[in-house]
Homo-oligomer: 138 residues x 2
């Protein structure tokens, strides 16, 4: 399996661990020694493995599961890091996620996750035309 396929598989495993509320599977995905961070939607940044994994422990312990379906994942590779960008389809909203993987001890591990809402008017299967930027943005 090449690196692109590996990262797509790991990205799927990330969302599967979420859907299954499988903390052990989630834990196995994240880097052990390299710096890790997580920007859950709306949250202040979580820095370091302890804080990041505690957030997943709490989220996955939620008795009401959060159903998230990843869609349109695409990989961009650098030398020792790779970024997967995908949509996260929830019941009533769509988020955009950046999942940064890094090589650690020869394996690809998750180092950073950020997810944030897609504006309702942007929910089309193509980039927003550059001549119509939304308001209230950067």
């Amino acid at each position: 399996m090449n690196d692109t396929d590996t990262l797509l598989t790991l990205n799927q495993a990330f969302y599967r661990a979420f859907a299954d509320r499988n903390y052990a599977a989630m834990d196995a995905l994240w880097a052990r020694h390299l710096p890790v961070t997580c920007l859950h939607p709306g949250w202040m940044p979580l820095r370091g493995r302890d804080a990041v994994m505690q957030s997943w422990r709490d989220l996955l312990a939620n008795p009401v599961p959060t159903l998230i379906r990843p869609r349109h994942a695409a990989v961009q590779l650098y030398t020792d890091s790779g970024l997967v960008i995908c949509e996260e389809v929830l019941a009533e909203s769509v988020l955009m996620a950046s999942n940064l993987f890094v090589r650690e001890d020869g394996a690809w591990r998750l180092a950073h996750h950020q997810s944030g809402p897609l504006a309702p008017q942007a929910r089309v299967d193509r980039p927003r035309p550059p001549d119509t930027p939304p308001r209230r943005l950067h």
Copy 2:
């Protein structure tokens, strides 16, 4: 200057180019050959240098400048990439940004930017306690 200081300086330059509506400065920051992507808040992903730079051309041409003040930038370094996470303070909101830099031809260049809103209740200068996850998340 070490890599951490270099990335902090480049991160400042990114927001200065934005504030100054200086397209040439913005253009100089982004990678030339390696894959680049940008997730402006709410937007569909922009993939590839042409799409990303066109978005900046349009945003920086806006006659009403977007005043953004970066705050609390912190760097995490990997072998060939480095991530800067910071707050983006706007007039009426605060966003969280991930700015991914990669080494290209011996220089650090911006490869990816994602920015998304911080929830109003999260705007404290510390991470949200892990035992009080916000609702409607992940």
